[in-house]
């Protein structure tokens, strides 16, 4: 009963931003139909991922207060978040496939390179399977990645919500320093071992190593599961703030 | 019916007395319907339970009676009952306080009688 309204509220909260985002992408793609344009484009999916990450960052605090005001429990809020995210990611995956095909029509045989993430990562596999399967795998892959990005954003915002001033400062300063200063220095000292292993993990996790999108899907789902779990642990005891 | 609540006595008694005053002054004639609990509580901004308690005092004394599903009415003969009751209260309420004040002012009983006569003339 309450779960329905929880899903509905959180879904409608995103729809407007989602429509605007897709609208802007469409306008950009339609510009490809202007003759004489040259270049490469493959940023469609990446921009969608970033968009969902930001959406994840912005959909906790206001909703949480509104739900507690209206007698919805934390577990129902969270279940609603997962279900509404499913819907949003499914819509996004379909939209991306449609948009990239529209883009291809626009390019025609002109001198513009356009590749979807799937085409770039799994070129060999694409040639060996049926086009229908490609579309299906592409949809699934996009769905899983969208979900992962959204939940990472959601986790970060809840983590910040739960942290007090000192922790916020520590993380906000400490994390960038760790990643962009300390890590490169240590890496240089160690002769590039760290970045090499990060690269290996990425090669493995994206399935690039085996040319399989399913490994990438599994990795994305694992990220989703981990960050959803962490989000729930933090949200379980979250309280209203002034 | 006008009521200015004072701190001295409980509100429900003041409500009952307000209705009594209205009955005595014929504002609520005998056999006529009096306002509902809700109307009393909304008008005077008091808890309905308090208004009910006040009116129940009058119901117990037979001054007001309830008709199921219709409302509350002033009983026949209520004015007479009230006059008798008020006469009994007259001594406690007015004479006692008057005599206390008279003592403070050092007025003699004859002084008071004179003043009372003046009051009736005026």
């Amino acid at each position: 009963m309450n779960i329905k309204i929880s899903v509905k509220y959180q879904f409608q909260d995103i729809t407007r931003a989602l429509i605007i985002f897709c609208g802007i992408l469409l306008i950009l793609i339609l510009m490809l139909f202007i003759p004489g344009l040259q270049g490469t484009t493959n940023g469609l999916e990446i921009s969608a991922f970033i968009f969902l990450f930001v959406i994840g960052l912005n959909t906790f605090k206001e909703n949480f207060g509104m739900f507690l005001q209206n007698g919805v429990s934390r577990k129902t809020i969270f279940a609603g978040k997962l279900l509404s995210t499913c819907a949003v990611c499914a819509i996004m995956a379909v939209a991306l496939v449609v948009l990239s095909n529209v883009a291809k029509l626009g390019i025609g045989y002109r001198d513009i390179q356009l590749g979807t993430l799937y085409e770039i990562l799994y070129t060999e596999r694409m040639a060996s399977i049926s086009p229908v399967l490609v579309v299906l795998e592409n949809l699934l892959l996009l769905f899983c990645c969208c979900f992962a990005f959204m939940m990472v954003g959601y986790f970060i915002t809840i983590a910040y919500y739960r942290m007090d001033k000192h922790w916020k400062l520590l993380i906000s300063v400490g994390l960038p320093v760790l990643c962009f200063v300390l890590l490169p220095i240590v890496d240089t000292v160690l002769g590039g071992v760290i970045f090499l292993s990060i690269l290996r993990v990425l090669m493995f996790a994206t399935g690039l190593q085996f040319g399989s999108p399913y490994i990438c899907m599994l990795s994305a789902l694992a990220v989703t599961a981990v960050f959803s779990g962490l989000s729930w642990l933090l949200m379980r005891r979250a309280v209203v703030k002034n | 019916m006008k009521l200015e609540f004072e701190e001295e006595r409980p509100i429900f008694i003041q409500i009952a007395e307000g209705i009594e005053d209205a009955i005595l002054s014929q504002a609520f004639p005998e056999e006529s319907q009096i306002p509902s609990i809700t109307e009393f509580s909304v008008t005077y901004q008091i808890n309905p339970a308090t208004a009910l308690k006040g009116i129940n005092l009058l119901v117990e004394e037979g001054i007001v009676y309830k008709k199921r599903g219709v409302g509350m009415f002033v009983s026949k003969g209520a004015v007479q009952v009230l006059r008798e009751k008020r006469k009994e209260q007259f001594y406690d309420r007015y004479i006692r306080t008057m005599v206390d004040e008279a003592k403070r002012l050092q007025l003699s009983p004859q002084d008071i009688v004179n003043l009372i006569e003046r009051g009736f003339e005026g």
Partner: protein, 283 residues
């Protein structure tokens, strides 16, 4: 067991004990006044009841069920809080629409009627309303929500005298038509004294009084007159406090008065709620 039962509830914020083993029962269909000075723990208690925060100890039962993370229970309670938790960009009428989704018994027509009585602009964003109108906006929802338990935390904050009157009038009207359990948390005692049936006084996180308004009022009285006479009378009696004006003195006493014991020349009057409250909650 119906009603809201608060059992041994404690809550600390750092070193501050906001609630200290609080036990209260809010019975069905009564109007309660939750009175206390600022910072006494009123809002904390209401936030614990609605599970917006967690108690450190103890539990809250609503109609026999614990309120923690319980949708069925939480939907029975509406808390109009001082703080607004509605999205700032939301319009008043959108908030009415959503309230109808969250609370199946929400009466949108009634909310709109109340809004027009208060001249609340429903097309405006909540964010853009003045402090007084933000309170009114929340009042409109609380009045129309039709849950068995409605809690008001400082409801008349920022309201002018006319709007306060209107609020109390509507509240009594609504309560007479369809009774529910109403809790009004406030430090403005005089305004609510006639409206509430039961008074709960909270001081430094502890419940120091929980009784009917009448009972409480019968617990104290004022004796005033010649200072020497007053002093002689108050000796050995439970004195709450006193005010002196030249040779005159008013003494506030606890207990019931026996008129024959009061010497002639002294006046006995009832203690008003405001005085009683101030005397009881003074540090």
């Amino acid at each position: 067991m119906s009603g809201i039962e608060i059992k041994q509830v404690s809550k600390r914020f750092g070193d501050v004990t906001a609630l200290d083993h609080v036990n209260i029962c809010f019975q069905k269909n009564k109007i309660y006044g939750l009175l206390g000075r600022n910072g006494a723990g009123k809002s904390t208690l209401l936030n614990v009841i609605t599970n917006r925060i967690f108690a450190d100890e103890g539990e809250v039962l609503v109609d026999g069920e614990p309120s923690v993370e319980n949708d069925r229970v939480l939907r029975k309670i509406y808390l109009m809080s001082e703080q607004s938790y509605y999205p700032p960009g939301m319009k008043v009428k959108e908030a009415f629409q959503w309230s109808a989704e969250f609370y199946p018994d929400f009466d949108k027509g009634y909310a709109e009627k109340t809004a027009s009585l208060f001249q609340l602009p429903t097309k405006k964003k909540i964010h853009d309303l003045s402090t007084g109108y933000q309170s009114i906006f929340k009042i409109c929802i609380a009045m129309a929500v039709n849950t068995p338990y409605v809690l008001f935390d400082e409801p008349v904050l920022g309201l002018d005298a006319n709007h306060r009157q209107l609020f109390y009038k509507l509240l009594i009207e609504k309560y007479s038509d369809s009774p529910s359990t109403i809790v009004i948390s406030t430090h403005l005692i005089e305004e609510v004294a006639n409206v509430i049936e039961q008074i709960i006084i909270i001081k430094n996180g502890r419940i120091i009084r929980d009784e009917t308004t009448e009972e409480l009022l019968s617990k104290g009285y004022t004796v005033s007159g010649n200072a020497a006479l007053v002093d002689r009378y108050t000796a050995g009696r439970k004195l709450l406090g006193e005010d002196t004006l030249g040779g005159l003195k008013s003494a506030y006493l606890l207990g019931s008065v026996k008129k024959e014991e009061v010497p002639a020349g002294l006046e006995v009057s009832k203690l008003d709620l405001q005085k009683l409250f101030i005397q009881m909650t003074n540090d």
